[in-house]
Amino acid sequence: MNNKKQAITIKGTKDGLTFIIDETSSLELIMKELETKLSSKVVDQDQPMVKVNIDLGNRYLSNEMKEELLEIVRNKQNLVINEITSNVLTKEEAQEWYEELEISTITRIVRAGQKLHVKGDLLLIGDVNPGGSVSATGNVYILGRLNGIAHAGIDGNQEAIIAAAYMNPTQLRISGFLSRSPDFETEGLFMECAYVDQKTEQILIDRLQTLTTIRPGLGSIERRMING
């Protein structure tokens, strides 16, 4: 066995520690080396919690294998796992990711009692009538009148927004947040967007133009890769 070649390289950064895992070493070796390295030197017990990032390089690990790895690190009291990164995706993950990134363009009227759901962003060309509802895991864009319910970021993305050419919804939902129309009758507004304001933890409605400041680069691949 080649002793010079390390299976795990540990680097200190200002964000904590990064464990760089050698791509070519066997898993068995990696686990063993992790055990020894962690029990020997790295951290002394009096220090505050240290964040650990694990960089797998071009290696793919199944969820069970990741879990095993995490177990070893977690057993050391003052280490917390921040992130595991890998350059590799399975086909299924890539497919799912692609769907999340996609924007579905749909031309129709969503009428009373009808529900429309898409993965990724929804671009609806048409109205959502009272009693109709649309939802997406990403953003909801409506080129028409929103008179019903819209739910963006339905799987938990709080950054998701809802934009409509005419905004007069009965309810807006973003991730787990909800806002409903006032109990008095209102005229709708043209060219509006809704988003979650992290400070007040509320859904706010504003002119479409504010998106350039609150969500710059909305819909760009990089941004969505981070959120995805």
């Binding site: 009373a112 009692g113 009538n129 009272p130 009693g131 109709g132």
Partner: protein, 266 residues
């Protein structure tokens, strides 16, 4: 080969039966051969509005269950030779009729009549499914009330999924101009904008309608009440004429829409 049109609404009591009777009568006035079918099993009405109750021998359930032929069950109108009614049953329940049964009857009647008008029961259950089964076209009735428009929207959504059915047409019934003006009822533009289907006609809320139904004589016979003119206009539009909306019918037109879009109130 005739055309079968189902008159439907979702919500009850908005004027399906009244519309079927009056549009049917108007088409007959224009010289067409018309057959009306009442599919509201257990709650038959159409015969009463037409004043034909005393002539009923067989009904649609008898035909579906093959106790008689279609022709035997048809009731001839007392005013027109070319207007006939296939009445609903008063006793049986809805399950006595199937979509296939109605389809078969409609197909047979289409051989002999120019128009078959099918009066649909309220709701979206079995009775509705029976009524639409044989239809080529659908007319959706709504009143200018929110709940009624909502149900019309629901029905339009369902009708759009039916294969072989043309996009439905809309009749707005019981319009009260003063309430629309005061903003206590939806206006025609708002309704058409939401439902986004072609408008076949509008009918004012008119006491004459109630009076004439009471006497078993559809209002469409009267020469010049607001409602009778509306019904005859609807019939002419069904025949393909382009008849402008009459003036109660207050169409504010494009200009109003444009203004609204820019948020200027007229």
């Amino acid at each position: 080969m005739g055309e079968a049109i189902v008159i439907t609404s979702g919500k009850g009591g908005v004027g399906k039966t009244t519309t079927t009777a009056n549009v049917g009568t108007s088409l007959a006035l224009l010289g067409k051969k018309v057959c009306l079918i009442d599919t509201d099993i257990g709650l038959r009405n159409l015969d009463v509005v037409m004043g034909l109750e005393n002539r009923i021998v067989y009904d649609v359930v008898d035909v579906v269950q093959e106790r008689c032929r279609v022709k035997q069950a048809l009731v001839r109108d007392k005013r027109f030779d070319c207007l006939h009614l296939l009445p609903a049953s008063q006793t049986s329940d809805k399950s006595a009729v199937t979509p296939e049964g109605i389809q078969r009857i409609v197909a047979e009647l289409k051989q002999d009549y120019d128009y078959i008008l099918i009066d649909c029961p309220a709701g979206i259950e079995q009775g509705y499914k029976n009524a639409i089964a044989g239809a080529d076209k659908a007319v959706v009735i709504t009143t200018p009330e929110k709940s009624s428009v909502r149900d019309a929207d629901r029905i339009i959504g369902l009708l759009e999924k039916e294969e072989g059915m043309e996009s439905p047409h809309l009749i707005i019934n019981r319009i009260r101009t003063h309430m629309v003006k005061s903003g206590d009822m939806l206006d025609i533009n708002d309704i058409v904008e939401v439902l986004a289907i072609d408008l076949l006609g509008i009918v004012a809320d008119d006491d004459e309608v109630i009076k004439s139904s009471h006497h078993g004589e559809p209002v469409a016979f009267q020469p010049n009440t607001k409602a009778s003119i509306s019904y005859r206009n609807i019939a002419r539009r069904i025949l393909g004429e382009s008849v402008p909306l009459m003036s109660l019918e207050e169409d504010k037109g494009m200009m109003a829409k444009v203004k609204k879009f820019f948020g200027i109130k007229s």
